[in-house]
């Protein structure tokens, strides 16, 4: 049976403008395309990745303009119809002044106290 992994994303907005993607959200899509069995847990500052309406457009250096800014909330949302569960730590949301109404549809809030049980469901746990 294929190993199942929980990919915990905690670091947020690291080089996302240069990369035009979050490299771990991107990697998750690529791994899923390669047949991976994995789910995502957003924690720490990365809970902000599920916030609706992020807009990184408009970056320009001289006449060189960025035409494809990252659209991280959309990229996270697109994981869900691919069968990737996207969990999000409720306590981290609250500490950052976020409410469920701020978030894209389909993410699954989970309390910090439930994390041990969640981790127990996966053979591999990766922290990014």
């Amino acid at each position: 049976m294929a190993k199942k992994a929980l990919s915990i994303i905690a670091t947020a907005y690291r080089a996302t403008l240069e990369e035009q993607d979050d490299t771990i959200v991107w990697l998750t899509h690529a791994l899923k395309g390669a047949g991976a069995e994995l789910d995502v847990l957003l924690r720490g500052n990365a809970v902000n990745y599920a916030v609706k309406g992020q807009d990184a457009s408009g970056l320009a250096f001289g006449e060189r303009r960025q035409t494809r800014p990252p659209r991280i909330d959309e990229d996270v949302a697109k994981l869900i119809p691919k069968g990737v569960k996207v969990f999000i730590v409720e306590d981290d949301l609250r500490e950052r002044g976020l409410e469920r109404g701020d978030l894209i549809a389909g993410v699954e809030p989970i309390g910090r106290g439930q994390l041990p049980r969640l981790l127990g469901q996966y053979e591999q746990v990766w922290h990014w």
Binding site: G44, R112, G113, L115, P116, R117, L119, G120, V125, H127
Partner: protein, 108 residues
């Protein structure tokens, strides 16, 4: 019972998030799992006795095995006698051995 290896490279002075990892370790142990917390790099700065050491002492008392990379300790001049109670120095080989034994490993 699952066996976990948490490798902590961050220190509690610069990063609030270290506390979260310690709490997760405690939660896993309370849930009946086994956790080894291996401090490496600046993570060992939190292993020298300091005014807020109690949480690490509590973790060790709860049953989290807390080890500190000998090389990282020596690199920072942290002497064994100054370590927080319950933290033991260990070679980095331990991480490789626990990986080989199949511990679920998470680097922070």
């Amino acid at each position: 019972m699952s066996r976990y290896l948490f490798i902590e490279s961050l220190d509690p002075f610069e990063s609030n998030d270290v506390q979260q990892l310690w709490e997760l370790a405690a939660g896993l142990v309370r849930d009946g799992q086994q956790v080894t917390l291996f401090l490496v790099q600046n993570g060992v700065l939190g292993a020298r006795q300091h005014p807020r050491s109690e949480r690490l002492i509590e973790l060790a008392a709860l049953g989290v095995e807390i080890l500190a990379d000998e090389f990282s300790l020596r690199e920072r001049g942290i002497r064994v006698e100054r370590l927080v109670r319950g933290v033991k120095p260990a070679p980095l080989d331990v991480v490789v051995d626990l990986l080989a034994e199949g511990h679920k490993a998470l680097w922070h």
